[in-house]
């Protein structure tokens, strides 16, 4: 286990020393500041709207903006998970850096696990920082507090960890470029599949829904986002016709069951296990 701790330290500090963490943080802070500025302008006009439509329209607006902000956070975290890790195994194999590590008394799977934990330690706090930045900015400015915060952040974190596992698995099999292409194609597939499933759900097109489910099984990231979006748009708002709009816009039109959470946890663990297994067997 000491080796895993050392390799986790090595991975995290590589991200830190290469200023990946700093760049992500600076841009993340810039994003939160931009969001807050935009939100302040909207709130100053929303006072007039509330005069017409009452509290509900205002709350829907805040809900929409929170969901929009968290959608960007979800997207940024996913991009960070891909860009940070896509080169970590294939790049070290290509550059031969891995040879000096793999010839130490280290099991190959410890190298993969150390990298996974190292990047997780970077991704999850980053996600929590940005999410809380959005949620509590909205709260302090408008008094609106998004519901189900821990669950929403947990689901987004699970998405990034699933992608991280997939990226490491790709790194043990493909070149960096191929791995990046495969990850983006899969993400794009899941994105489109998710929309097909939602629209199919609204129009009661069963085949379209099934197609979306299959893409979610291949890449469960977007399905988890739809669950997050649903948690951000509480059932009470659904009673109002307009209250459903933000949720549908951000993908909660057709909400996966809780089994998808279990599936994604299993997916993350199994894919990570496959990455460790393949890396242990391949030539370096």
């Amino acid at each position: 286990m000491n080796n895993v701790v050392t390799l986790t330290w090595l991975t995290f500090h590589e991200a830190r020393r290469r200023r990946m963490v700093l760049a992500a943080l600076v841009l993340g802070v810039a994003f939160v500041l931009l969001y807050v500025t935009g939100f302040l302008f909207i709130v100053s006009q929303a006072t007039d709207i509330s005069g017409v439509n009452g509290g509900t329209a205002e709350e829907i607006g805040f809900q929409f903006l929170t969901m929009a902000g968290l959608y960007v956070v979800h997207f940024l975290t996913i991009m960070l998970a891909i860009f940070a890790s896509v080169d970590t195994i294939s790049g070290e194999i290509t550059s031969h850096t891995i040879q000096a590590i793999a010839t130490k008394p280290v099991r190959r799977w410890e190298i993969v696990l150390g990298k996974w934990i190292g990047y997780s330690i970077m991704l999850v706090p980053y996600l929590v920082f940005l999410s809380c930045g959005i949620i509590f900015s909205v709260y302090f400015i408008s008094g609106y507090l998004a519901p189900n915060i821990p669950q929403v952040i947990g689901l987004i974190a699970l998405q990034s960890l699933a992608l991280l596992s997939l990226s490491l698995l790709g790194g043990t099999r493909f070149s960096t470029l191929t791995n990046g292409v495969v990850l983006f194609m899969l993400y794009g597939l899941a994105f489109i599949g998710s929309w097909i499933e939602q629209i199919g759900g609204l129009l009661n097109a069963r085949a379209a829904v099934n197609m979306g489910i299959v893409t979610s099984l291949l890449m469960p990231v977007e399905a988890l986002w739809r669950m997050s979006a649903n948690l951000l748009a509480p059932a009470s708002n659904m009673l109002y016709g307009v209250g459903k709009a933000p949720a549908i816009l951000f993908g909660a039109g057709s909400v996966p069951s809780n089994a998808m959470v279990v599936y994604t946890v299993v997916y993350t663990v199994v894919v990570l296990g496959l990455a460790m297994r393949h890396f242990s067997k391949r030539d370096l």
Partner: protein
């Protein structure tokens, strides 16, 4: 034979249709400095990688320090300087050795003691806090050597350890190898530089197309047959008779016999009558082969005793380079 540190039987590795190592069988006893020689593409690096567990062989068996290659217990007792010495460049030299020391399972106290020693050994003490990204290739190779020796290994693999080093660095590596040998450490040296191998190795295997062609002891090379070029005023039958019992074979260097190449006419002692027959033809140079280097002074004495006037007596010991060309083949030597 001493206890074997490396034992390989019929190792084979192919990448698709290309066979990198065809049938590698070798033994390296404890405490030996073993040289591994061959032209580019001979399978040397693949063989080293198989012995380190980096590459899985398609066939054959191997044990390293009594365990299969890559065994974690074994790897704690091994040091390896890769041919492509690339490390995490964002670390400083000290930090790199500290990370590797942790992976070797060394305690904090042990690392604090050993890291400065290793840096000092390779002449990088003053650069210990500098990021490796600013290191020259030679410095990278030096830090590679330091990490290979950090755990005071029982077996060290050095894959082209001086490829990026200046003459000072090469002298340093030779000195390190000699020190390792004195400490009883086994060294597996994979190098193109024959002079380096000749200066440091006890034994050397010549490999081509993944097969060991021949293994020789460099001690026997140092003490073996010597060719001597002898130049006198005239080669007489008396001179040849005087040398007869000392010489393994000889050839005249400046005589032309019908049907023979003037410079390549080996004659054995048994053909002395032929030699005697041509000795009257103003021959002045002969190449002799004697069994040992210490026989050369006696050759000089016999020449003088025979009445010949000695102009030159030049020994030509067979070099490793000549052996390399002979064993591996001229067609591969320039690759």
């Amino acid at each position: 034979m001493d206890k074997l540190v490396i034992e390989a039987r019929g190792l084979r590795k192919a990448y698709g249709h290309k066979v990198a190592v065809a049938d590698l069988t070798l033994e390296v006893p404890k405490g030996e400095v073993f040289g591994f020689l061959g032209p580019n593409g001979a399978g040397k690096s693949t063989a080293v990688k198989m012995l380190l567990g980096l590459v899985k062989p398609d066939g054959g068996t191997a044990t390293v320090l009594g365990n299969p290659p890559g065994h974690t217990v074994t790897m704690a007792r091994i040091g390896f300087l890769p041919e492509h010495f690339r490390f995490h460049e964002w670390l400083s030299a000290y930090e790199l050795l500290d990370v590797y020391g942790r992976l070797y399972g060394m305690s904090v106290a042990s690392r604090r003691k050993r890291i400065p020693q290793a840096l000092d050994l390779v002449g990088l003490s003053e650069q210990s806090r500098r990021p490796i990204s600013g290191f020259s290739k030679g410095m990278l190779q030096r830090i590679g050597l330091a990490q290979a020796l950090l755990n005071q290994p029982e077996l060290v693999f050095l894959d082209e350890p001086t490829s990026a080093l200046d003459p000072f660095g090469r002298m340093l590596v030779r000195s390190v190898i000699r020190d390792l040998k004195a400490q009883g450490t086994t060294v597996f040296l994979n190098s193109h530089l024959l002079g380096e191998v000749e200066a440091t190795c006890d034994r050397v295997s010549f490999i081509r197309e993944g097969v060991v062609l021949r293994t020789i002891s460099l001690h026997s090379l140092a003490t073996g047959e010597v060719q001597v070029e002898l130049r006198v005023d005239t080669v007489t039958p008396a001179l040849l008779a005087a040398l007869d019992d000392m010489v393994i074979n000889w050839r005249f260097l400046d005589v032309e016999l019908p049907g023979s190449h003037p410079q390549l006419m080996p004659l054995t002692v048994s053909e002395q009558s032929t030699a005697t027959a041509v000795a009257s033809a103003a021959i002045t140079a002969i190449e002799l082969t004697v069994a040992r280097e210490d026989m050369i002074p006696r050759v000089a004495e016999r020449v003088v005793e025979s009445g010949a006037r000695l102009y030159a007596l030049t020994p030509h010991k067979a070099s490793l380079e000549e052996l390399f060309l002979e064993i591996v083949g001229m067609e591969d030597s320039g690759q």
